[in-house]
Point group: C2
Chain length 360, copies 2
């Protein structure tokens, strides 16, 4: 028996998948899959473990985390993800880099390994759409973006699939990030405009925050002049001490986290008591009629990122790779031959083992 | 900028490394590295997180776990490991399959991905040597093996590097596993002999247990007729409910776990109260003089497997791969080009994004 191969969806394969399916359809599929996986979350169907990780403090702050999820009977997924805000300036690498792994449920065989950086950026945008469809006015036309990095691009492109955006106001304290955003967004000219923070806050029907503010240095917006029905996707808060919104704004809003325990530990909900937190996103999806009135009040989606969203993405990319015939195989598990022999994958001349029987 | 490549040590690369360095030297290096990493464990140097995982119950019992460790300033390692005792008969795959990942400490870049199945089998053997050197008589010459699968081969080969083995008595309730062991062990004829369980227990100076007994079905040995100074490496107990040794034997021995909390949850120490458990292996290594008298009493090494051992192994294999010029590179992280642009790795014709601005 040969080793059972592992499918690798590397950068070229992900590019081939995007070229095959198209970015627009990819966002639509991601929004659909994320909606479904959270609407069907039950311990017997899909579940996830708490995100955990190492905090790395030398020579500067970083995180390395693992995010496991399971669809019982089918797939275990794990995302391994780094958060290193110094990466763009120090290494010309993204702040958030990750890889995604899918295992066969019954054998534990590593079925697929793929880039997670792009899929995570897409799914984080798609997650804001899933929440915004329930919490924002459906005719929201002015989008505000605070922070103009990678995540701002995918927030915009995802939300553009679901809302009639006529104006996009952006703000970033880093001039080069703000100035380069329109080109990276690849939008028709005239729709995107850099604006002072106060104007962004005042005009936005939907506001997204996704900055690299350091723990303890928030908030990044003022929050006092926002529209009474505005909806905020709070995307950047995802580690202890890191928050982007003022506590007063949170207390004046219905705050819906993606996962309450995780948001209390890492999200905007760090600033709230449990009793001040609204229903989490899976509850909204499982009983949408009950929460229809939330469109009429100020709401915050506290997006910390869910392992179940990553499970949905790796399953989606596995399907799309099959359609696009993308990816290549590697034999990563030393499982060839006799399952009782640890050396059966070795050429016979490497197993000339003559034990060093010491003389008694 | 190109993506930063990830080094893949697949089955062929691991085989090339073994052929280059030789199995004997590989075991010697593993024993040395495992000794060092545990002897130097401090929160500022190396540390690990608790093993956690999913218990998979459909259609039969299995585990999928993650084992993270860090060497501060250098490397974060994660092992993703499945335990599926039905694998050999159902899928012709090993019971324990795993993959190992090494990340750059400062950027979170995935530096190396490698087979973990072979490295884990080697390190589990090496770990028994590290413990046995402190807890067993140095002139131990009769080795008993209960369970004749993959782990029995590597226990034997590791222990043969450190003890003057003159006789190896083996027992497995599966006739085909017992009968095929000598060939898989690649030992000179006459050293290995299948024997009834009672004889194995009575004769062994060092006994290793590594069976796939189901939770609640232990113990697998009787334990009443062992030598007063015998040392036992209890290797197989690694999940809730799964134990191989009788409680009475444990209570008549000094039981040294690799990690106390983990052994209480998953190892033989499940059968003991905290006060009945001896010093863990890192303590033994950090103050060997203090524990010299343990060679003279009956001892048990409760081996549940440590993420730090896996960290040491991936670091070792990275070095050996460099020497052997083994492995190949893949571009797994979509990090090419502009770190602020999620699409910079895509060919330009895949980024013909024209947002579907819905008509207001």
């Amino acid at each position: 028996m040969k080793s059972v191969p592992t499918r690798v969806l590397d950068v070229d394969a992900v590019a081939a998948i995007v070229a095959d399916v198209g970015l627009e359809t990819l966002y639509d599929l991601a929004i659909e899959r994320l909606t479904t996986v959270l609407a069907t979350e039950t311990p017997s169907h899909v579940e996830m473990k708490e995100r955990d990780g190492f905090t790395l403090t030398w020579p500067q702050l970083g995180l390395l985390e693992w995010m496991p999820a399971v669809r019982h009977g089918t797939t275990v997924s794990v995302k391994l993800v780094g958060y290193n805000p110094h990466n763009p300036t120090k290494f010309q690498l993204p702040t958030i880099m990750s890889t995604l792994y899918a295992f066969d449920y019954e054998s534990g065989h590593l079925r697929t390994i793929m880039d997670g950086t792009f899929a995570t950026a897409v799914r984080t945008g798609a997650a804001s759409v899933v929440a915004s469809r329930i919490l924002a006015h459906s005719d929201s036309s002015v989008l505000g973006l605070v922070g103009c990095g990678v995540q701002a691009v995918t927030q915009l492109h995802a939300l553009a699939r679901a809302f009639p955006l006529a104006e996009v106001l952006v703000h970033d304290p880093l001039p080069h990030a703000e100035a380069s955003f329109a080109a990276r967004a690849r939008f028709p000219s005239g729709v995107i405009r850099a604006a002072p923070l106060a104007e962004v806050e005042r005009q936005a029907d939907i506001l997204c925050t996704m900055t690299s503010v350091m723990p303890g240095q928030g908030p990044v917006i003022d929050g006092t002049a926002m529209k009474p029905f505005a909806h905020i996707n709070a995307v950047g808060s995802d580690m202890p001490g890191k928050t982007e919104l003022p506590q007063s704004l949170l207390r004046d809003s219905v705050v819906c986290p993606d996962k309450t325990e995780q948001a209390l530990a890492e999200g905007e909900c760090q600033q709230l008591d449990l009793a001040e937190i609204g229903p989490p996103l899976p509850n909204l999806l499982q009983d949408p009629g009950r929460y229809a009135s939330l469109k009429k009040v100020r709401t915050v989606y506290d997006s910390t990122g869910l392992a179940l969203q990553d499970l949905a993405m790796v399953e989606l990319f596995e399907e799309l790779a099959g359609q696009a015939r993308a990816g290549h195989d590697i034999n990563l598990e030393a499982s060839a031959g006799d399952p009782y022999d640890p050396y059966s994958f070795l050429p016979s001349d490497a197993v000339r083992f003559i034990p060093a029987l010491r003389q008694v």
